[in-house]
Amino acid sequence: MAKIVVVTSGKGGVGKTTTSAAISTGLARAGHRTAVVDFDVGLRNLDLIMGVERRVVYDFVNVINGDANLKQTLIRDKRVDGLYILPASQTRDKDALTTEGVERVLNELSEDFDYIICDSPAGIERGALMAAYFADEAIVVTNPEVSSVRDSDRILGILSSKTRHAEQGNGPIPGRLLLTRYSPERVARGEMLSVEDVQEILAVDLLGVIPESRAVLNASNAGTPVILDEDSDAGQAYADAAARFLGEEREHRFLDVPRKGLFGRLFGS
């Protein structure tokens, strides 16, 4: 039985797909068979971030409709063993995601994988609700600014009542916070909410803090999950988050303004 994890946020553009790609890659690299599913039907992006856009033949909606089977549709990642991508359909809309269809596909994936990462679309409509409905656990991606935090709060509320887990009377699914695009310099200048501020408002466990980094955009452009860029701060922060997700204790890094060395101070880089 696989563990189903939804990566969600409410707000768009905060880094759900980047996170889905990075975390699923991290889990597969740690030896867990992992499938990452794009629920953003109509606005498919995961295939780009994972660099498999030219290998998409069938998609999630084809599998739901029985036009193709999972074996034909899943795209195997060439960089990391045991990592598979289920792309969304670009030509359909979210109504194609029927509860029965999604359940059937997730059940079938469950037989073969250890983790299923559901990359949720933004919003609180059908696509997002379907991505979350069957989840056992949630990663809530938030940027350190008020509108993103409020949307995440809304999503946490929905997760506590609108999942199969909750509807069966098992209470809310565990949700953890991943704070992305964090800039300690801007926090220090009072332009951005701090980790403590966000945690105080959302009152959930912290899975990780990903610093604002050029490496993220570069990785997206290159179609490489940023976690594979092991020299970058964002890549390392995602590696930490994936390890924490698997139960490892790791200290949070990149929370403070880096102290400039002599060189930096002299030349004010």
């Binding site: 409020r150 709060d153 809304r154 946490l156 509320g157 929905i158 105080e200 408002i201 009152a203």
Partner: protein, 238 residues
């Protein structure tokens, strides 16, 4: 010409909650006796709340109803009757004769009316021994609503901005209270709100409210209670 209608009067829309009093038997004496019995258990049940009379259950009988006697006995008990519920031609005719408006009450949501004062609680719940207090230990998130019907609401986790917490009785918040808090929502003017810090978007008691921008920083500080004094909300430190 500038002295137009708008300097004399203004029209404004406003939603109000009404109590619907359903009559199941037409005789004024029986109604009076039944009302008195209910008021013994719950003295403040209907007092001052706009009330609409619903005669639907009487079928065709309303034509024989002594509306005048009914109006008198309700007035004598402090129940302001504002009209009849439109449930057919017979009711419309009766209303026309009695000079009362006929109200269409489609849509909206009906909730059972309960007295939230202590008298009602001891009278109606003593046998079961269970309390009407609702204790919420999970955070109340933006977009969520929690309503303690017929009793108090105790919140041990945070109430986020954009969330709404309501109670017929008091509200006790032990976590951060950042959303909207409304106590005494069916009209209990004795209801209060207790919190450790008043960061609400809005506080209201029995319909009287203060918005966040009308709460000063000094008033937010420390453990606070909000109560009604006459017609105005009082925020005071505990």
């Amino acid at each position: 010409m500038s002295n137009g209608a708008e300097t004399v009067l203004q029209f404004k829309g406003r939603m109000i909650t009404v109590t619907i009093l359903r009559l199941l038997a037409p005789g004024p004496e029986a109604v009076a006796a039944a009302l008195d019995e209910r008021f013994r258990d719950a003295p403040g049940l209907l007092s001052g709340l706009p009330t609409v009379l619903d005669l639907e259950a009487l079928g065709e009988a309303p034509s024989g109803l002594d509306l005048k006697a009914l109006q008198d006995l309700l007035r004598a008990r402090g129940v302001p009757l504002i009209g009849l519920r439109d449930s057919g031609e017979a009711v419309r005719r009766l209303a026309a004769v009695g000079g009362l408006p006929v109200l269409k009450l489609d849509g909206g949501r009906e909730v059972p009316r309960q007295e939230s004062g202590s008298a009602a609680r001891t009278a109606s719940q003593a046998p079961t021994g269970s309390s009407q207090t609702l204790v919420v230990t999970q955070p109340v998130r933006s977009g969520q609503q929690v309503y303690a019907r017929g009793g108090d609401l105790v919140l041990t986790a945070a109430v986020s901005a954009g969330a709404e917490v309501l109670a017929d009785g008091h509200i006790h918040a032990y976590g951060p209270l950042r959303g909207r808090a409304m106590a005494g929502v069916v009209g209990d003017t004795g209801a209060r709100i207790f919190c450790r810090r008043l960061d609400c978007e809005m506080v209201a008691i029995a319909g009287r409210y203060r918005l966040s921008e009308q709460i000063t920083d000094a008033e937010r500080e420390g453990p606070v209670q909000v109560r009604l004094e006459g017609d105005s909300l009082v925020i005071e430190r505990l």
